[in-house]
Symmetry: D3
Subunit: 317 residues, 6 copies
């Protein structure tokens, strides 16, 4: 079985600190034939309202991903025995134009969708999720959404702009790209522009689990409810903003907010998506200039690995 | 209502990373007329026994405070709909003389007290709290005290000195500035000069909640007890040493101790002061040279925002 | 004399680490009446091709500028005895749209020009210089230009875009905003897209002094030639990209190139502009996430101070 | 009583930031006569598979240890009233040869064992534990082991080598240095080379407590079971790899894994060893280049202090 | 012409911060057919006597090399119009055994030599140069050597070992791998184990240019003498230890010494090798944990680019 | 000869990164009998006007000093063959009182003077030099002074205080501790409180060599003049503020100023003191929180080594 699929280059064959730092030390083929999952970087940071730096997210996540080994010890998840996974390289965004970049990203993911490749994306700021969702919606129809974040990202405009990292889920709901009844937001907290910032989505049927609801306890029961709500048949997207986690856990990000999720809750949330019909995932908002040890990127790499383990059909050893 | 009071400059009017970094992007008026709350920096660090750097605390907390928005999503707290809040600037301490600085600080807060302005202070090292308490006592009488810290700060002398960041609450109790029966210390832990370092205060009636008492659980029940003990009528001061929190949460400080409070507990403690008759607050011991990402200062800014939300009369939306 | 003009707040009145960090501790008036020079931040970084972070340039330069005192010991330059200088605040750029930001910047500088305020600008990436030049040209006609930089910034397009931090001087020359015969580029070096990257400007009459021409020697003789070339009557702009200096001197920038100018050469170049008819200056491309000690921003603040000293009419004590 | 034993130099006699940074500010005698406990550095990092840097672990732990005071406030532990503790200096390992270093370490600890000095060791990478165990086994017979770690360290070979920081407990079990029935591994987690990486040890009788087993709760009940399993009579070694803790708590290490133990759990585990017949302890894998604030080293120093408090015979005040 | 050879991926086709970070954004072919130059990483750091970290040198140099463009503006050097250059990947050294690693490196370079590929190597610590020289000597005979360094690296033994980063040139001279009469050492300085540390090599005919000989002036005249001494026909190796440069220029290294060469002298030395018959080059001792901005790695990448430009046959545009 | 004196512990006997980090790995005897030179730390930072942190200067200089070897390669200086040198430990300053600290320092140096031990001091901020000079004056009479600095440190008062790191040489001249005719200030530059800040000393006969006087050239000729001026018989003190050097060379300091001396000039200045009758030296103002690589401390250690080499009677090999 193992031989059918790409395996991460072993630390015994080449030391972990050596060799080209591709994602999980996987190949970067130029063709998508036979590929099940493409881990794709989207190094965008011009949709950001506060600290910059997410343009280096994909590169640093790849660099730190070399430590991740092929099996999940908690779940037995064995993605590299289950799927043909590749490092899909980066989307050549336009670093000077957010508008053109959105188009470039959507076109790139339309090609992946056409090739029936499931995309897992490395941000980049959260703006990237909108064009990805649009591309996936064209193939799958309106999507269920598990959205982990400190922020609702449902502002109407920011600085007068309709497309930024803080407005995308408003756009996604308005456009019908996402099915509000099957959308869950987890980890929201801190301060808002108004006291009802989280209510616009709620009023449309979105289920919001604020960070406070999860303090001092396992996220597993909440995820059981999430699976119930979404069901096993709905095409579902998982968008994980690293700032959903507490800044102690993930300091390297641009708009950190105190009182967030723990790393173990982050792992439980992704593990709790096993059973959903995931059709795409992303991990966004890692900002390497603020990740002085590389540990935020390393955490992101582990979360991406858990995403692989939660894809439909992933074997458990 | 909103129009009556200063509002933080919006991130839509001026990007968060732009403009002068005043506290919460509030005005810095030269007069105190009509001011309810003045957030005031006290950039002192010559009362410090270990790592230096708190002189830059007020500046960095202000710089990071630009991300804080006007409403608390957990409580609906709406301080900028409730009070006239200003950035009160810094006390011009004497960087070469601790003794003179204590006098300068007390005189500054006496002026604030005379103008009936409630002070929220940004440290600086913890020594600043003693002259602030003295000034407030002259107006309010002996004060109840909620003291969050890793350390009791009740040493008699340090290096032979009676006024340092580790002796101030002994002085405050000796001087009668604080009412021991209405004083609570939360978060104390780690190692001591003797095994009974926390007992001097206890023997005078101070209630001590060690960090171990709060591990793995909410601080809300403990705060209910604190409110019971202090009552709603006693003029109360909240002194929050950032090292009360665990170093994972607040690395940028001078005497970190392991096993501290989580950020969520820190939020609960401040939120749990709502209902007390707070007459002043401080947030001390942020040391920017050890806060490499700025996240400790950002946490401090959020805690100060929660202090605003816990002031008597703060509206909830 | 001194009393006529704003003076930097003294370190004796308020410790340097205390108080609001305005540029040189100057006032930030809301009106421009009577202002001679406005030091204005332009916190743009979406015109950047490599590392991000210049959005925080103005804030960090202001923070470090508190150490600069009012007199130049080398030249006796006394700008605060000569001009009414203010901290002009920041341009409210649009963080999501480079195109709109260029318009916002030009409009802002048109207002300054209308008020006959000489602008000294704190970048932000180098893209900001184009709209500033456009605004100044409307008042002064085509401008002479002293351009310090590691790069020519005369690419035609980058990623297909005509307006980026690497194309602006091509645009400025094409548009006639700058007079090629009175334009000098200093510090160019390193690697190019082609071997004749520096020749497009040369072919139009621009004088290029490569970094290699200045190795191991004073830049003063070269500046004498520059003054000769430009003359004393031509309205002249000084655009100083911090990456013109060697990365050892100015590590905190986005596209560093080895073999650059020393700090003393940087000082000589600005001092060598005394005698020109400067009508505006900028200091761009400081990127705080890569300026871990703050020393690049502090150097930038000193260079801006020297710009003040080189303005026409600056007294020498 | 106190006078019989070395006392840490007081912060009142010499400021904490001053003086030679020996461990806990204890003497470094050249002779072992009368010494009960020698805290000994083993600055090895050539057994490391990922990030380097543990060679500086002992030095940085010593530097930060100056903040630790002589009494444990949680337990009343009073090691400096109980034992003659010294800073035993460092083992002069061979920085170019792992094989020779293993021999040098074993010889050094054989000398300590001969002098009946209980060793507490500061790593260095985890490879150091094997020669220490070998030396102790010769005196005490096969050892019970409490092993805190993110990793099992029971690989057979790495890069073809049998002696590395990832293989040592396989060697220790194969050699009979450790008694598998009295061995407990705590904190194991994350990703493995195979899905049954933790089963080799389990199949030999080792008790494994994965990190997930401890999420959101006290480690004290688990430690009660550990004491039951090992008993009070078995000579027991405590090996604490700092990466057993979550990277948020201990960022400065070479192979961090998400979802680890909290600092309070780390403290509980060591405190829970009180009652066992500890004959040696180590704290390994602190990597100062990744410990930018020094807080990981400071945590390590506190954990070592707690080890002292858990030694048999430590008085409680 | 251009079409015959690999070209660095353009920043216009893919932003510089995006895409896999291969050296100069060149391909990494698995076969050596048709390859003229292979830039090869040797991520060794277990030959190091002081600070660790060079194992991450190749990865960080590659990451920063993305900014280097294809033409040298100072010389017109056009290596990618002249040679088929590839990123040759890394040597799979043994991270636990220096001895085995030396064998693995020599074997790897023997394969490159057999394929008539000229190697340019990215260290790794300086120990790597010995096995590379051995492999090249087998093809070319004894080699002339230009050795840039702060240290002579001619100790007899270190910690009793004959093969370390401080002994390799003694071994190379003893073994006859290098021709002492055609060996030049440039940049030596600072402190020695004895006052005649540099004399062992001198006594064998090596020409030593101490750093002091080059202070405040161009290195070009010295390089003219070097070319005279070595001649145009002798197969020559260039070994450039980044610590030959001053720590202000190259802070990210393990044994920095004050008073070193400037970046411009470093460029002149490599440019001054044009005309020699270079058969291999290396750039060693970049230690990323001490290179906090990445600028040392970026400088190293530029120096490697200049090495390409100095290879025999490189075109000048 | 060698055997008579303490020798730095060799890197072959104990790796450089191992063992207690005493200055130059020398012993720290408790008695001064037979000691010629005591390298003594004065960890003061409460005389500082801008950035804090010099309290950690002595510790970090010691930590980095382990790399310095016993012979100067440029001069043959052999201090450990010439003098009995020890690490004299630190002065137990009072961290809360500048006034008391000045007394404690003076008393400490009076004891050294009484024991005829020549002191070389590690700062700490520059305030420490005044009490040291006072103690030395009592033994030697008024002192000649070589003062390397960016600042004159001759302010009358700062924040109303007469004793700070910016006023000490005014006090020293007023008190007659220093002989103005034999005082030289080297490296002064940048901005002043007035345009004649450097003239107060000049008017008393002090010779001032501004940094600009030394740009682009050797400092050796200037030092020949200095030796001429001071003569060989006058007891002379060398006070070296690390900020005399350019911030590129010595970033880790509290009041950096651009355009300073190079490292090679710093070495030449100290080497140029050979021939003077040095009776004491200091190296002050290293601020570790701003010395992120440790290279400023390492440079300081090398400069202190050169001070040893310039002491009267130091042998040259």
């Amino acid at each position: 079985m193992t031989e059918r699929f790409n395996q991460p280059m072993s630390g015994n064959a080449m030391p972990r600190f050596a060799g080209t730092a591709t994602m999980f030390r996987l190949p970067t083929p130029s063709e998508l034939v036979g590929v099940d999952v493409a881990i794709t970087g989207v190094p965008l940071d011009i949709g950001t309202s506060n600290r910059a730096g997410t343009r280096y997210g994909p590169r640093q996540i790849r660099s730190e991903s070399v430590l991740v080994r092929p099996y999940s010890m908690a779940t037995g998840g064995a993605p590299f025995d289950s799927f043909q996974v590749v490092d899909g390289g980066d989307v050549a965004i336009n670093p000077y134009s957010l508008e053109k970049s959105l188009g470039l990203i959507e076109a790139h993911y339309a090609r992946l969708a056409a090739a029936r490749v499931l995309p897992i994306s490395l941000g980049g700021d959260h703006t990237i999720t909108l064009p990805i969702l649009r591309a996936l919606m064209k193939r799958h129809g309106p999507l269920a959404l598990v959205h982990v974040d400190a922020h609702a990202d449902t502002n109407d405009v920011m600085s007068g702009e309709r497309y930024t990292h803080g407005t995308i889920f408003r756009r996604a709901l308005e456009e019908g790209v996402v099915d509000a009844r099957r959308m869950v937001q987890i980890g929201l907290r801190a301060t808002g522009y108004s006291a009802n910032d989280f209510d616009w989505a709620r009023s449309r049927g979105v289920h919001v689990i604020q960070a406070e609801d999860l303090w001092y306890k396992s996220a597993a029961p909440a995820m059981a409810e999430v699976r119930e709500r979404i069901g096993t048949a709905a095409p579902t997207y998982l968008s994980f903003d690293i700032d959903g986690l507490d800044p102690s856990v993930a300091p390297g990000t641009g708009t950190p907010e105190p009182g967030g999720l723990t790393a173990s809750q982050g792992l439980e949330i992704i593990r709790g998506c096993f059973g959903l019909k995931l059709v795409g995932c992303d991990l966004v908002e890692v900002s390497p200039p603020y990740d002085v040890t590389g540990n935020t990127a390393l955490l992101a790499a582990n979360l991406v690995f858990e995403m692989l383990c939660s894809l439909p059909g992933c074997r458990r050893r």
